[in-house]
Symmetry: C2
Subunit: 272 residues, 2 copies
């Protein structure tokens, strides 16, 4: 402590004085639950979150009281409870972006007979706000919302990386490099290519299975979080032909979405 030039004075012990530790920890516990990890005991939660078991026990009980977790005593474990779903419902119904573009997405899916998705970044993954899955059988044209896909492997995620804030992109790439050790060379090159493609054409392509082509285009608007559209299709056609066919519709979707959002923006009245 000889010089006051320390860029981050960080009072006391915590990095950010406006971060409530208990709340962060409680949320981390909720976040530990995901498909495939749907039933977690105290021990597992402690491992995944790095919290002490005593803390996990108390916070988990608190989450049960609030209704977000339920305790399965016969398995000595917790699982997410129904009110969590209603938060998701509230999120969807309140998302201006989703509500503005959902009709456009459905129309495009029907017209081109492709899957059309909208996603947002969350840490090192992308979360679908909506994914209209096109299917021959009409009854199976279901919609997936809330699903996570890896950022570094998907067109969706790479399109985001292309427009992510400098610092965040750097941090994310570092994480991926560490996590993907052996395959990093290939993945890094693909990400670089995707970034170039987004910078030049506004979209990028990924085809991780022979007959599946996925393309994604980010939607960047001032004062708004970044969203990414994607389209994907299973086809026997070449990647090039598919790309040529879908780039127009994808970019048009993005542009129409932007227009709709700009039009919906002005009235600064608050809903209550």
């Amino acid at each position: 402590m000889h010089a006051p030039a320390d860029p981050a004075p960080r009072r006391q012990h915590h990095e950010d004085p406006l971060l409530n530790r208990s709340l962060v920890r409680g949320i981390e516990i909720l976040r530990a639950f995901r498909p495939g990890a749907d039933l977690l005991g105290n021990g597992e939660i402690a491992e995944r979150t790095g919290l002490s078991r005593a803390t996990v026990s108390r916070l988990a009980q608190t989450l049960v009281e609030t209704g977000l977790l339920e305790h399965d005593r016969s398995r000595r474990a917790y699982r997410l409870a129904a009110p969590v779903l209603s938060l998701g419902h509230a999120m969807r119904s309140g998302s201006p972006v989703l509500n503005a573009v959902a009709p456009l997405m459905r129309a495009l899916a029907e017209k081109m007979r492709i899957n059309v998705g909208l996603a947002a970044p969350d840490r090192d993954e992308m979360v679908y706000l909506e994914s209209v899955r096109y299917n021959r059988k009409v009854a199976l044209r279901n919609v997936v919302a809330g699903q996570r896909v890896p950022m570094e492997l998907t067109s969706l995620g790479r399109a985001y990386l292309a427009v992510a804030p400098q610092e965040e992109r750097r941090a994310l790439l570092a994480r991926f490099k560490a996590a993907r050790r052996s395959e990093w060379g290939r993945i890094r090159d693909e990400i670089r290519a995707a970034i170039s493609s987004v910078e030049q054409h506004g979209y990028c392509v990924a085809s991780w299975q022979p007959e599946v082509v996925a393309m994604a285009a980010p939607l960047v608007m001032a004062q708004r979080p970044i969203y990414v559209f994607n389209v994907s299709v299973t086809t026997a056609a070449s990647i090039q032909d598919t790309e040529a066919e879908l780039k127009g519709p994808l970019l048009a979707l993005r542009d129409r979405a932007r227009a709709v959002l700009l039009a919906a923006e002005p009235p600064p009245s608050r809903a209550g």
Copy 2:
């Protein structure tokens, strides 16, 4: 403090020593967001939760850091963010009840051409885990999850009240009485009738619009939260005829669900 007969010693100041106050408050902030109240400023959150503005400001910022809220600075307000959706997704994919009965529900909806739902209680409302909306136009057979409906007015909620724990039912009825002052007489009678019906026949009926008939049957299993099934239909037929037609399928759905769940129960291995 003359007699130790005090039923609730409540140490120190807080009612329940294992309730983390900050976490409860943060969750209450999340819960303040619902359809129609999707964009909330600090002031509104403070009003709805009863918290001080300073506390709301700090906790809301924390929730932004965790990714569950996003801050719309142009409107000076918060809204739920995409990761909330992924929690909902994780909840659905991890719900043994939902996964066990979803196929049965879909089949019933198709066969009888009715809406079929599954819900769980949350405070004074019911939350749909799934609602398979039958519709002439196949393309519109969408599914609603996470939607809330009032407990005291719906067959779904009344069926729950019929099997709710003594003490909880009492508390809920008191809330409804206070909230529904003027209409309480009618509502109370309808709830009583519904409770009798559930006790006698296992289901209850509500028809709050002329041509809409809704029926609900609770699913009570040891060591498991209470769930409620419902079916509803818009029809020109009489309530009696509709009830006669649907009671069998509804109760059969409940019984099949119970059987499926009992069969899926035994293996006490924990998913990770």
